[in-house]
């Protein structure tokens, strides 16, 4: 897993609530037996017209947001299926962090296991961020996982209603360490072999 420490990038605004995993990656992309190729399917219902050409109205296809590594979205991002393909699609496309007021549990978990940082910020803050990056797409957003902050460097105040330029976010301390160091759970679990065997013996499983 790629470690996550700090990230400075422009952000892509997706002003939609309840973005479900079928929107992030439709079922027809789930036929793969590897992780590859998911990036092309990201948001495919919205991103492509029925004839397969890019839909110019969808934000992902707009030139000003090319190269953004941060996605800002409405609440309940990632509801629906457990498909980790949704996270693979986002990371393969190039996203490294998603900011939303709330995430579905399984999506949140899956993100952490793939070096994609899910950041929960209050609804008002997310709304202001959406306003800001829609109006000023060049705005850089800086994420510091060690400090658990999202900041807007160089932006003291703005017409978009943002009155502070740094917000802190919560993350489980263990998950934070794993992300900072690029560690996955498997090594940790394999180290618990003695306890696992003891548990099985005691419960005669």
């Amino acid at each position: 897993m790629q470690p996550f420490t700090t990230l400075t990038s422009t952000a892509l605004p997706l002003r939609t609530e309840n973005v479900d995993t079928d929107q992030i990656i439709p079922a027809r992309y789930l036929t793969a037996v590897t992780q590859e190729g998911m990036g092309d399917g990201l948001f495919s219902w919205w991103r492509y017209s029925r004839d397969g050409s890019p839909n110019p109205d969808f934000v992902l296809n707009q030139p000003q947001y090319q190269g953004s590594e941060i996605l800002v979205a409405g609440r309940n991002f990632g509801i629906g299926s457990s498909r980790e393909h949704a996270v693979w699609a986002l990371t393969q496309y190039g996203f490294r962090a998603v900011i939303s007021p709330a995430f579905a549990d399984i999506f949140y978990n899956n993100s952490l296991k793939n070096g994609l940082l899910p950041i929960r910020l209050p609804e008002d803050t997310v709304r202001s961020l959406l306003d800001l990056v829609e109006e000023a797409p060049k705005t850089s957003i800086c994420i510091d996982l060690q400090k658990q902050t999202v900041t807007l460097p160089g932006l003291a105040d703005s017409a978009s209603g943002i009155t502070e330029t740094s917000w802190s976010f919560d993350i489980d301390p263990f998950r934070k360490q794993c992300l900072l160091r690029g560690l996955d759970d498997l090594g940790y679990l394999l180290d618990k072999e003695d306890q696992i065997s003891a548990f099985e013996a005691a419960a005669s499983l």
Partner: protein, 467 residues
């Protein structure tokens, strides 16, 4: 202070809890299917690890496979065949028992688990599928996991989990005629929202829940995830025990008595406290139908599609507007009478024998409307065989429904069962997301009897009028 059912199961399965780290939870049963497992087996192969407990792992194929009767594997789409072959190869290589489509036992993973008696009270059960919550109907802590976690469980039989919070859903009163478990859960989600249960485990309680059979309890727990919850639980009781007794993996002989006396302890203590509670009166419910693109956007059959102006929250307003644009519905229109093109009776929510019996009772002696294409997809080969023994397949066929083989089918449209662009699907499945049942498809979620009534009338109908 006493413990909730959830806490009892959780505490019995935590094998390690390091300071500042999530708990390490032992998993009693791991269900595997073709779509979310290949990359997990690949991880094992890369790291040179075996499957730690093949005897606690159960694999089947359900999502990608076609369900047309007589569909030969040689004619399957390439990618479905590739996934099925990969699962066969992985199961053979790692010694995992596989319930293959070629064999006698196969079906939707959440239908065959309980059917085989794999699902038992007090267990922890996981699967790389969000509707694993279904198994909570037996008082098991059951939840969906991602593919990385599938790999963790294959390799160690354990998972790292932060402890969710508890949420009691009390369902009082008695259900009226023509109102079903599906209506209870759709009403709960409409009330509490699609994200309302995030971070929580629901426990469904109260007289209306106790009165339900296991199929109905599974319908409710199945859609816990649609309410945002990690899992849903119903405390086991005599209904649960008599369902399990005698099934393939159920405890036998002395073990049975021992198991039942343990299972009887699996209830929430009188003085236990939930983090949140919600109460619903079952006697006030009518059949429910969704009008939108998330399962929280549902109304009763006598209701109307909401108007954006009546919603306070701007985000909700926008969400409604987008949903109605996609669905081609009008604000304020009655849901009853809405045109329907396709009827899908199936999915892990509503494809059990009880669901098919109920739908067949409506279909019997009636005809599917001329403009409607209707399919019935049993959840498993066992359900299919039972239905055929009871003559339900003939009832459906005579009424003009197409009778299928077991699988997920049009629930997720990853196989060749897809609803066309703009088509309205009266569906007994659990998700009405945009494009879920085919590109541009428009799903109206409802109960099996409501779907059967929609099939015969060609429009959304109050089934109570034709009972």
């Amino acid at each position: 202070m006493g413990k909730t059912l959830f806490e009892k199961i959780w505490d019995a399965h935590v094998i390690a809890q390091d300071e500042g780290a999530p708990a390490v939870l032992y998993i009693d049963a791991h269900l595997v299917h073709e779509v979310t497992s290949p990359q997990a087996f690949a991880t094992l192969r890369e790291r040179g690890l075996p499957v730690r407990r093949p005897d606690k792992t159960y694999a089947t194929m359900d999502h990608a496979i076609p369900t047309r009767i007589g569909a030969l594997e040689v004619d399957w789409p390439d990618d479905a065949a590739t996934q099925v072959r990969a699962l066969r190869q992985n199961c053979a290589e790692f010694d995992v028992p596989l319930y293959d489509i070629e064999g006698e036992i196969q079906g939707i993973v959440h239908v065959i688990g309980p059917e085989l008696g794999v699902t038992q009270p007090g267990m922890t059960i996981v699967c790389g599928d969000s509707h694993t919550s279904t198994h909570g109907a037996f008082g098991a802590l059951a939840f969906g996991i991602g593919t990385s976690e599938v790999g963790h469980v294959l390799a160690t039989q354990c998972l790292m989990q932060s402890k969710p919070k508890t949420f009691a859903i009390n369902v009082e009163g008695d259900l009226g005629t023509g109102v079903t478990a599906k209506d209870i859960i759709l009403a709960i989600i409409a009330k509490n929202g699609a994200g309302g249960g995030v971070g929580h485990v629901f426990e469904y309680r109260g007289p209306a829940i106790r009165a339900l059979d296991m199929a109905s309890r599974m319908t409710i727990c199945n859609m816990s995830i649609e309410g945002g919850a990690r899992a849903g639980l119903i405390a086991p009781d005599e209904t649960t025990f008599s369902y399990i007794k005698g099934r393939t993996f159920a405890p036998k002989g002395d073990q049975w008595e021992k198991a039942v006396s343990h299972w009887r302890t699996l209830t929430t203590d009188e003085d236990a406290v939930f983090d949140r509670e919600l109460t619903l009166d079952a006697s006030a419910l009518a059949p429910m139908v969704t009008y939108g693109t998330n399962p929280g956007q549902g109304v009763s059959i006598n209701g109307r599609v909401p108007r954006a102006q009546d919603l306070e929250d701007p985000a909700e307003r926008r969400s409604l507007q987008n949903a109605l644009d996609y669905m081609g519905l009008t604000e304020g229109q009655p849901i009853e009478g809405q045109h329907v093109d396709i009827v899908f009776i199936g999915s892990c929510t509503n494809s059990r024998i009880e669901d098919l019996r109920a739908a067949a009772a409506i279909a019997k002696g009636r005809r599917v409307s001329d403009h409607v294409e209707a399919l019935v997809v049993p959840g498993s080969k066992a359900v299919k065989a039972q239905a055929e023994a009871e003559g339900l397949d003939r009832i459906f066929s005579e009424a003009g429904f197409e009778w299928r083989g077991a699988g997920c089918s049009m629930c997720l449209a990853m196989n060749d069962d897809k609803a066309g662009e703009g088509k309205y699907v009266a569906s007994t499945s659990n998700r009405n997301f945009m494009g879920r049942q085919g590109p541009g498809s428009r799903s109206l979620l409802m109960s099996p009897i409501m779907a059967a009534a929609a099939a015969v009338n060609g429009r959304v109908t109050d089934v109570r009028e034709i009972l």
